[in-house]
């Protein structure tokens, strides 16, 4: 029976033992003897053998980064992506400003205005990736599932500004048409079997 008492037992000395460690040499002669002993004991060749053995086996697991990349989890939080609507291809972002508000490192900023169809239009959108801590709040708060984190984790470029361009974050239209826009399940997303769940609005007219 595991009760709390066994975890409270701080007396662990019975299971521990001291390893046999030689005393450190104090004089020059002692140090010389230790060097000679360690050099000719052959431990060096044990290590060399392990490398040689693995080389001969040709069973190599090293990922050849950057030529080769590991697949990463869909929930990995790297550089943001802006999604498009599947049906029309227009941007999902409605410019509600919640991501800007919730951002704890204050790195999202957007400008909105009224467009010619009297709808709200996002005219400027930027994320300062130098400040972003990739916490994922923006993606979580987004009511339209418009902003998500993508898998692009390689943040190396000549200019930091390269990562904050809205156009780069937005799914390219050809990728969307090819059905390659990565979709997420979860709050706000299209759930599986959505069509069966839709009920007809009880309209009286």
């Amino acid at each position: 029976m595991s009760n709390i008492e066994q975890f409270k037992n701080r007396n662990v000395s019975e299971e521990y033992f001291l390893v046999d460690i030689e005393d450190y040499p104090t004089d020059g002669w002692g140090k010389f003897k230790r060097v000679v002993k360690r050099t000719f004991q052959g431990e060096l060749f044990v290590g060399l053998w392990v490398v040689l053995r693995e080389m001969i086996k040709f069973d190599i697991h090293t990922v050849q980064y950057p030529k080769e990349k590991m697949p990463i989890g869909p929930r990995y939080r790297a550089v943001h992506e802006m999604k498009r609507l599947w049906e029309s291809g227009t941007e999902r972002c409605i410019g509600c400003g919640l991501c800007e508000k919730i951002c704890i490192s204050d790195c999202i900023r957007m400008e909105t205005k009224i467009d010619e169809n009297s709808r709200k239009e996002v005219s400027e959108y930027s994320i300062n990736l130098g400040r972003c801590i990739f916490c994922g709040y923006c993606a979580e708060v987004c009511p339209e599932l418009a902003i998500t984190h993508g898998g692009r984790y390689e943040n190396a470029s000549e200019q930091r500004a390269h990562f904050v361009m809205y156009e780069d974050m937005l799914t390219p239209i050809d990728m969307l048409k090819a059905g390659q826009q990565q979709e997420f399940e979860g709050f706000g997303a299209i759930t599986p079997h959505e069509d069966e769940r839709v009920k007809k609005t009880p309209l009286a007219y």
Partner: protein, 751 residues
């Protein structure tokens, strides 16, 4: 007395005064009754029916917003039946309401959203066939009928408080919507009150639409810096955008439940001055001040800065020029010499409560919209009789006024004398004053002023049963050649009758300037004059070209004295990068750490209180009481004045222009704002056009006194007579003279 009604609300014993409704009593007592369409400053719209309560012994439910209580009745504000009723109303409000809260400009400040959550309406139980509703653009105002809940607040405010009566409800069942009244597009003074009162995002400022969310904006309580109304407002600021993190003002809001704001205050907020510290210009300014003989300044200034100027005057031994405030000051001095009090007696609240109002010498709707709104409120709510005396009929006041007294230009003194005579008919006057009125040559005055005896008799008849009367005195009287005597006549009226007097100062702080410093007569003879927001040989200004840039009034903190004789604080909404007057004062050793350190040193002998700026409040109490700043103390002065005998009244013949600004424009600051319309034409009637031999669209050269400028003549069908309206807001100097001017109008050939 039996005027108090005792009854109970939810078991609590409460007392109502005459005229109060169940709802107003409940609100006063802190008892919550939900409402959607109620707004304190208008009569109840009674369109939402949310405020229903149960009254013991009464069948059915009672609307608390428009039902006065009866003695002893027991009111219940909360029960299952009421809850069911209110929930059903909310369900109906939510039918087909677009689910676009994420982008709506209300961004959470929404009455409909609040009440929907309060009554827990989570699904739509009722249905109606939705229809396409086109968003309409009415210039400065955008209307989205899909979001409109038809609460009628906007219609009531427009009609009852503003007086434009420009919008109406188009009834058509589910198709009902708000429409411009008798017009295809909105034709009004664009005060924007409808935007302010709209509980949902249906009426929105076109400029603000979809640019910012409410939660991002920082609210800065301030005082409007366009006219002497001293309306409280809040500047809402936010970073400009991605390109700049400097703040800009996004919109202006007001406490619409109790106060109103005109369009200049609401839409004309971007008059800030951008500048950086220019050390050379500053050194030049110091040098210019050392050599100056005088400082000429405008009344667009805070009391604190006036005090700095006054200290500079004492230190440097120079003169202070401000003709606008000097004229106002001497008008009030003459007034005080009869009334015995330094300040006039009426406030805007008194005008709102009045049932008889006489307006003289002012195109009040454009001179001071706050007074106009107060007059409209009085007319619509108290059925007040409005007597409007002016040489020009004002189309904006047409729906409000009871009687129009048209007098001849320049005869204000005669009108005032006759007015006083009639108002003081059965009053015991002192010997000299009685002699003055007995000596008046009624026939001559009637003939010259062109107001007949029957008109005054009619006026007296309509004023007979009025109890709270106010006389509103405008700038034409203050800037008049005989201003002193006119002031004394107004004071006599105040002294012997129950009529209180409201004098309308011209600019934001004309009243404050006249009380804070000692001004000298400006005869334009000196050459070495430093201009502070006014013309001079060295100009320090916050608008237009200047030798040294200064902060505009939305970049300064300080106090104004409003038309109510109330010292109201204002705060800086935006930062100013350059030098201010205080920096100059510091050079001369009279500076303090901040400009607002001067607030407690404002002259106590003129009614100011020795109060620190930071102790001044700048908001309205929950029930609407104005607790901003403080009211000037009553200052008693010697009653040593006496009425002067009237000289012959001046005659104005030929082409006369009236220097008055169009709607929403007041000064050089409103002139530089982005949204306000700039109507810079000389507007006159067809009759004027014929007399001056100019026709619509002609370029004309106008010259009066020593001024000459070119304008386009525009024939205005709403005008009558031979007086044309000449705007002054776009002129580079302020016109302080009497506003009617004989002028020469010449047609200039098109190049």
């Amino acid at each position: 007395m039996s005027k108090l009604i005792n009854f109970t609300i939810d078991g609590k014993a409460v007392t109502a005064k005459k005229g109060e409704t169940i709802l107003t009593v409940a609100r006063r007592e802190g008892i919550y009754i939900p409402t959607m369409c109620y707004i304190s400053k208008t009569t109840p719209c009674a369109s939402c029916r949310m405020c229903v309560v149960e009254a013991a012994g009464v069948d059915g439910l009672v609307l608390s917003c428009n039902t006065p209580p009866t003695n002893g009745i027991a009111i219940t504000t909360n029960s299952d039946v009421l809850e069911q009723e209110r929930t059903n109303i909310m369900k109906l409000y939510d039918v087909n309401h677009p689910l676009e809260c994420g982008v709506c400009d209300k961004s959470g400040e929404c009455d409909l959203q609040n009440k929907t959550l309060e009554f827990d309406v989570a699904q739509q139980n009722f249905s109606a066939k939705d229809q396409h509703r086109q968003i309409e653009n009415w210039g400065l105002i955008n209307y989205d009928p899909a979001l409109c809940i038809l609460c009628e607040k906007c219609v009531h405010v427009c009609n009852e408080v503003i007086g434009d009566d420009a919008i109406d409800l188009q009834f058509g069942g589910y198709k009902s919507k708000v429409i411009p009244k008798n017009s295809d597009t909105l034709d009004c003074t664009f005060c924007g009150e409808c935007i302010a009162v709209c509980p949902v995002g249906a009426l929105v400022s076109s400029d603000f639409k979809y640019t910012a969310n409410a939660w991002e904006l920082t609210r800065i309580p301030a005082t409007c810096a366009h006219c002497s109304g001293g309306c409280s407002l809040e500047y809402e600021t936010r970073h400009t955008g991605i390109s700049s993190k400097d703040d800009t003002i996004y919109r202006v809001k007001n406490n619409f439940e109790f106060t109103s704001l005109c369009g200049a205050g609401r839409f004309g907020f971007d008059f800030d001055n951008k500048a950086s510290k220019d050390a050379v210009a500053f050194a030049n300014a110091v040098e210019a001040l050392k050599n100056a003989k005088a400082i000429r300044f405008s009344s667009m200034i805070t009391n604190e800065e006036v005090l700095i100027l006054q200290r500079l005057k004492e230190k440097l031994g120079i003169k202070l020029y401000n003709e606008d405030a000097r004229k106002f000051g001497s008008f009030m001095d003459a007034y005080a010499s009869i009334s015995g009090k330094k300040h006039y007696s009426a406030t805007l609240e008194a005008v709102k409560q009045a049932d008889g109002i006489i307006v003289i010498g002012s195109m009040i709707a454009t001179d001071n919209p706050a007074v106009r709104y107060a007059i409209t409120t009085a007319a619509k709510h108290n059925g007040a009789k409005i007597i409007y005396a002016h040489p020009i009929e004002d189309v904006l006041m047409q729906n409000t006024i009871t009687q129009f007294l048209k007098y001849e230009v320049g005869t204000e003194e005669g009108v005032m004398a006759l007015l006083a005579k009639y108002l003081l008919e059965n009053v015991e006057l002192s010997y000299e004053e009685k002699a003055f009125f007995d000596d008046l040559d009624d026939g001559y005055l009637s003939a010259e002023t062109n107001i007949g005896e029957e008109e005054f008799t009619l006026m007296m008849k309509s004023l007979t049963r009025t109890k709270n009367r106010v006389l509103v005195v405008g700038n034409d009287l203050i800037a008049h050649k005989e201003a002193q005597n006119i002031a004394k006549l107004a004071a006599v009226i105040e002294k012997y009758t129950d009529i209180s007097v409201l004098v309308v100062p011209r600019d934001v702080n004309t009243l404050g300037v006249s009380l804070t410093c000692k001004l000298d007569y400006d005869d334009n003879s000196l050459l070495n004059v430093v201009g502070y927001n006014d013309k001079g040989s060295f100009v320090i200004s916050s608008v237009g070209e200047a030798d040294l840039a200064a902060p505009a009034l939305n970049q300064q903190e300080g106090t104004f004295v409003s038309i109510d004789n109330r010292v109201v604080p204002t705060n800086s909404a935006l930062a100013f990068g350059g030098y201010e007057l205080l920096d100059l004062a510091k050079v001369f050793g009279i500076g303090k750490k901040d400009t607002i350190d001067f607030t407690k040193e404002l002259p106590v002998e003129n009614g100011f209180k020795a109060v620190e700026f930071d102790l001044l409040e700048n908001f309205l109490a929950p029930l609407g009481e104005d607790i901003r700043g403080y009211l000037l103390d009553v200052v008693e002065v010697a009653m040593d004045g006496s009425l002067d005998e009237l000289d012959s009244l001046p005659e104005f013949n030929g082409t006369i222009i009236y220097n008055v600004n169009p709607v929403l424009q007041f000064n050089a600051y409103t002139n530089i704002t982005k949204q306000l319309e700039r109507e810079t034409t000389l507007r006159g009637s067809a009759q004027f056009g014929a007399a001056a031999r100019v026709s619509d669209g002609d370029k004309v050269e106008i010259s009066f006194a020593d001024k000459t400028f070119i304008r386009t003549f525009k024939q205005d069908k709403s005008l009558k007579g031979t007086i044309a309206l000449n705007p002054t807001f776009d002129l580079d100097e302020s016109i302080n003279s009497y506003r009617f001017q004989k002028s020469k109008i010449m047609r200039v050939n098109h190049e």
